[in-house]
């Protein structure tokens, strides 16, 4: 009798271990990844760095939800659209919740449109939809020595064409806001086109973001959307560092708005804070 009992126990314990082992091997304990973007101005370089973190969280199957702590005044149009689209790709697989820190303006706001849910603090600055451009100088006198093959080879287009493009880019931005925020928005396209910055409370009222909250709220929401509990947290910045990838935006931003303007005199989704 005793032998019978012991053998059943042994099998039960073994089966339990096997069962848990199968769970761990195939499904795994769920994780919520936290990406901390302390401050970043979006350009080609920083977009690449951000995309490393996005790819990390997208490809790791044990990560079931993502929280992005976002702090950005925006940047170039291409970089902003880049990180937005890559965030949408994550959203197609697992929920993304954004927590706005000090600012998510212009390109930074475009980025957070890729999330399922957005939190901010009451004094967070959000919005500033639109684009800015340093236009090329007018057509210069033709030169004997520098010979282009077309009238716009040197400038890329006429002044008026650039103005038209700028307006198109603004329209695309507004379209993106409306397509991603949908019925949550309580603002007209004309008012949005004004380019205003909204503080957290107003942004919630207008449907530009979803709620005021903290990091804990963001993590809980991400878990709720993913349908998980008893999860672990993953600091993506630290995880990548362990792999040998140091992210520059984890430190305070090296670029000032003025230097971005100088280095990248093209179209920006950027909030140039009044000095």
């Amino acid at each position: 009798m005793k032998r019978w009992f012991l053998s059943y126990m042994f099998l039960a314990i073994l089966s339990l271990v096997i069962g848990v082992g199968i769970f761990v091997a195939l499904i795994g304990r769920p994780q919520v990844a936290v990406i901390n973007v302390s401050y970043v101005e979006l350009d080609g370089f920083t977009a690449d760095e951000i995309n490393k973190t996005l790819q990390f969280v997208r490809d790791d199957n044990s990560i079931k939800a993502v929280v992005i702590k976002l702090n950005s005044p925006g940047g170039t149009v291409s970089a902003s659209a880049n990180v937005f689209l890559n965030t949408v790709k994550i959203r197609d697989k697992k929920p993304v919740v954004v927590l706005v820190g000090d600012i998510a303006a212009s390109g930074g706001y475009m980025w957070l449109l890729g999330a399922n849910y957005v939190y901010a603090y009451p004094a967070s600055m959000v919005g500033n939809v639109g684009a800015i451009m340093n236009l090329p100088a007018g057509a210069s006198s033709p030169s004997e020595n520098v010979v282009p093959t077309g009238p716009f080879k040197l400038t890329g287009g006429s002044y008026r064409t650039y103005i038209g493009w700028l307006e198109s880019i603004k329209d695309e931005f507004i379209q993106t806001v409306f397509s991603q925020r949908g019925d949550r928005l309580k603002i007209t396209p004309e008012e949005l086109a004004g380019g205003k910055i909204y503080f957290g409370s107003d942004a919630v009222r207008l449907g530009l973001i979803d709620a005021l909250g903290t990091e804990v709220d963001a993590i809980n929401k991400a878990a709720q959307l993913a349908g998980i509990r008893n999860y672990t947290l993953v600091d993506v910045n630290a995880a990548l560092k362990e792999q040998g990838t140091n992210l520059s935006f984890s430190k305070f931003g090296n670029y000032s708005s003025n230097s971005v303007k100088e280095q990248f005199p093209y179209i920006h989704y950027m909030f140039w804070e009044p000095k």
Binding site: W4, S15, F84, G164
Partner: protein, 456 residues
């Protein structure tokens, strides 16, 4: 019995699996059905220039442009407007130079003198985007010019710092420190506003829609000519209103516009901008400026007949005709007076009967003395008279002297400008000229003083 015990394995495995799942998962993520962002934005419009044909009516006169206040524009930007003005027969002159800074204290007197000389000959005056401030004297010169019927065009723009309000405020016009914008309807950028509301008048004749590229609002009660719509805001007031970027004041002799860009290519060809530029050119060349004798020969119209009382004065008549011709007019020697034509008459005192009606009309009596209506009595010997009379829009200039040399000297003083020193009224000059004709510096500039000169 052994096989029966093995059944516990799959059961416990399944139970532990389900238990683990339940411990860590309470639902499933369902991605939202948010539509993917579309690349279809507004297609930038292709620009099609409006067809406009200018039909200039010919006038005579001079437009003077202020370039002495370090003005923030290039001549290229107003080239189209200037070409319309010259097509209407006007001459263009500028005061100062856009690249020369005359704002230092040391150069203010020089600048005032330049402005005075410029306004002396101007039918209309254009002030655009001045950087340096105007002196009290300069503002007075401009006011006097407008008071005498000269037409003033003031151009400002909010994208460039300027002091235009110093002049504008003399006519109760203020260029506000704002810009007008419309986010609902605009040409490519919210600052490029459509204007479709016009008060009737010469400036707005034939206009349906114009486009201004960054304009400010102008404040003037009851002077607005062009108005914004209900969706146009002022950047400082953050509210809509019936703002006006084009106003007219001083009985129509002052026109203020708060955008320069619409005049420049390619913006001039948008909508009715070209027509507006032509209307402004008509305004500038429609000046009713009243010229005095001191502003010789700008009181004359395009054609002038020069008549002599006797043949010995033909040489002086030729000199006078040449002088008038240098100022964009056509002066020709004629045998007889044409009472419909601008006229200059040269004669000796004995010929004064040929122009007696003009002299009498001016209250001047000629015998052995010349008596003016101011009580002045001068011997005719060694004396020259220059009189400007106006009769129903026709100007008659009369030069009388006691000898051929005296008349010649009078014409020389007209050429050099010294005649202004002998004026006894706005339209009359009396000059005492000795037999010795002074030598002049080449170019007719200030000569050695004349002995016994009258009031010189």
């Amino acid at each position: 019995m052994g096989a029966k015990r093995l059944i516990i394995v799959p059961i416990v495995v399944i139970v532990s699996l389900v238990g683990s799942l339940s411990f860590f998962y309470n639902g499933r993520y369902v991605p939202p059905k948010t539509p993917p962002p579309s690349a279809a934005g507004k297609v930038p419009q292709a620009y099609v220039s409006s067809a406009f044909v200018d039909s200039p009516a010919k006038q005579t006169g001079t437009l003077v442009i202020d370039e002495s206040h370090f003005n923030s524009f290039s001549e290229q930007e107003i080239a189209i407007l200037l070409s319309r003005v010259t097509a209407r027969g006007y001459e263009i002159k500028s005061v100062g130079s856009l690249t020369t800074f005359m704002g230092s204290d040391a150069r203010l007197k020089e600048r005032e003198a330049l402005l005075e000389d410029g306004l002396r000959i101007a039918n209309s005056f254009l002030v655009a985007l001045p950087w340096n401030e105007y002196t009290t004297r300069e503002r007075e010169l401009v006011r006097n010019f407008v008071d005498r019927g000269g037409r003033l065009l003031l151009i400002g723009e909010p994208t460039r710092r300027n002091t235009i309000n110093q002049i504008a405020q003399d006519y109760s016009i203020i260029f506000a420190n704002d810009y007008l914008y419309n986010v609902k309807e605009h040409e490519d950028n919210f600052r490029y506003i459509y204007l479709r509301d016009f008060a009737p008048g010469e400036i707005t004749r034939g206009l349906k829609t114009v486009v201004f590229y960054v304009a400010s609002s102008l404040s003037l009660e009851n002077g607005g000519l062009v108005f914004t719509d209900n969706n146009t805001f002022s950047s400082t007031r953050e509210q809509t209103g019936r703002f006006s970027p084009v106003v007219q004041a001083a009985n129509g002799n002052v026109l203020a516009i708060s955008d320069l860009t619409f005049m420049s290519p390619p913006y001039n060809s948008v909508m009715d901008n070209d027509r507006l530029i032509s209307n402004i050119a008509d305004y500038l060349t429609g000046s009713g400026r009243v010229f005095k004798l001191s502003e010789f020969p700008h009181f004359f119209g395009p054609k002038v007949d020069v008549i002599v009382g006797r043949d010995e004065l033909l040489s002086s008549a030729q000199s006078l005709a040449s002088l008038v011709n240098q100022h964009n007019r056509t002066a020709e020697l004629k045998e007889r007076e044409n009472y419909l034509q601008e006229t200059a008459f040269l004669g000796l005192w004995e010929d004064s009967n040929q122009v007696e009606h003009y002299l009498t009309g001016a209250g001047i009596q000629v015998n052995k003395t010349v008596v003016t209506p101011f009580g002045q009595k001068t011997q005719t010997q060694g004396t020259a008279l220059i009189l400007l009379q106006e009769n129903q829009g026709r100007h008659i200039l009369i030069i009388l002297g006691d000898s051929r040399d005296t008349v010649k000297e009078a014409v020389a003083r007209l050429k050099s400008g010294e005649f202004r020193q002998g004026l006894v009224s706005d339209n009359l000059g009396i000059y005492t000229i000795t037999e010795a004709v002074p030598q002049r510096v080449a170019g007719g500039t200030t000569p050695a003083p004349v002995k016994g000169g009258n009031g010189n």
